[in-house]
């Protein structure tokens, strides 16, 4: 099946981003396609290239970038939500792209399932 995933919270503060990532990984492992992950609300903070967690902690941002690279997952950051929160091309991590809310609607129409993670 073709999955869309929505992430509404930033990394570390809430578990949502972790849950979304582990869900995506499990879906891919089962042979499904994760077509797009849409980052909305504080979820846009998952894409900050400046993020630097402690060495013994998971690197949530890099983990998303790697997933995108290895499995061709489209990581879309909502532009309006991103501007409100200080995410721009200049601090955008690898594998993410900034675009409009239409990409979320499209994730709803073009996938078989849309699963939301948030607070």
């Amino acid at each position: 099946m073709k999955f869309g995933i929505v992430v509404n919270e930033g990394p570390y503060q809430h578990q949502s981003s972790d849950s979304a990532y582990l869900f995506a990984k499990a879906a891919i492992a089962k042979g499904h396609e994760v077509w797009r992950v849409f980052f909305y609300h504080d979820g846009v903070n998952n894409s900050s290239a400046l993020t630097e967690p402690p060495q013994d902690d998971r690197h949530i941002v890099n983990r998303w970038s790697k997933l995108a690279e290895e499995h061709n997952v489209d990581l879309v950051v909502c532009v309006a939500a991103a501007l409100r929160r200080g995410i721009k091309d200049e601090n955008l991590a690898k594998g993410f792209r900034i675009s409009g809310l239409g990409q979320l609607v499209e994730a709803g129409t073009k996938t078989d399932r849309l699963v939301t993670f948030g607070d």
């Binding site: 939500a81 979320l104 499209e106 709803g108 129409t109 073009k110 939301t116």
Partner: protein, 121 residues
């Protein structure tokens, strides 16, 4: 987009305390602009989003409640409010900014089951 799907937006949070209500409304408008079949449901504290008379000057946050009145212009006409949620908050239909269809929890559950995509913020 050629496909038309039934999108339901589930609004369960009060306005202003968090941004979800406002940013949800932005998605609703875009989804309508893409000619999808849009339903909005308000339950739990989400019914407070529709309360008349919001005056936000004292908290320096923009009052976005007039947007609910503008939804009709975007052909968003299916607005549902959960009866039990409204009653638990001391509200009646007269307190709301726009005309809505009032559903019981069970009716809302049934309506939710009929959707293609359910979005909750």
């Amino acid at each position: 987009m050629s496909e038309i799907k039934k999108f339901m937006f589930v609004n369960r949070k009060a306005p202003y305390g968090t941004i979800y209500a406002l940013e949800s409304l932005e998605v609703v408008l875009i989804t309508a602009a893409f000619d999808q079949d849009v339903s909005l449901v308000f339950l739990d504290d989400g019914v407070f989003q529709l309360k008349k008379g919001q005056q936000t000057k004292g908290i320096e946050i923009k009052n976005f409640s007039p947007t609910y009145r503008a939804l009709e212009g975007y052909d968003v006409e299916k607005l549902y409010v959960m009866k039990e949620s409204m009653e638990a908050r001391g509200l009646t239909e007269d307190d709301l900014l726009v005309p809505v269809t009032v559903l019981t929890g069970a009716e809302m559950g049934a309506l939710m089951d009929e959707q293609d995509v359910v979005l909750s913020f």
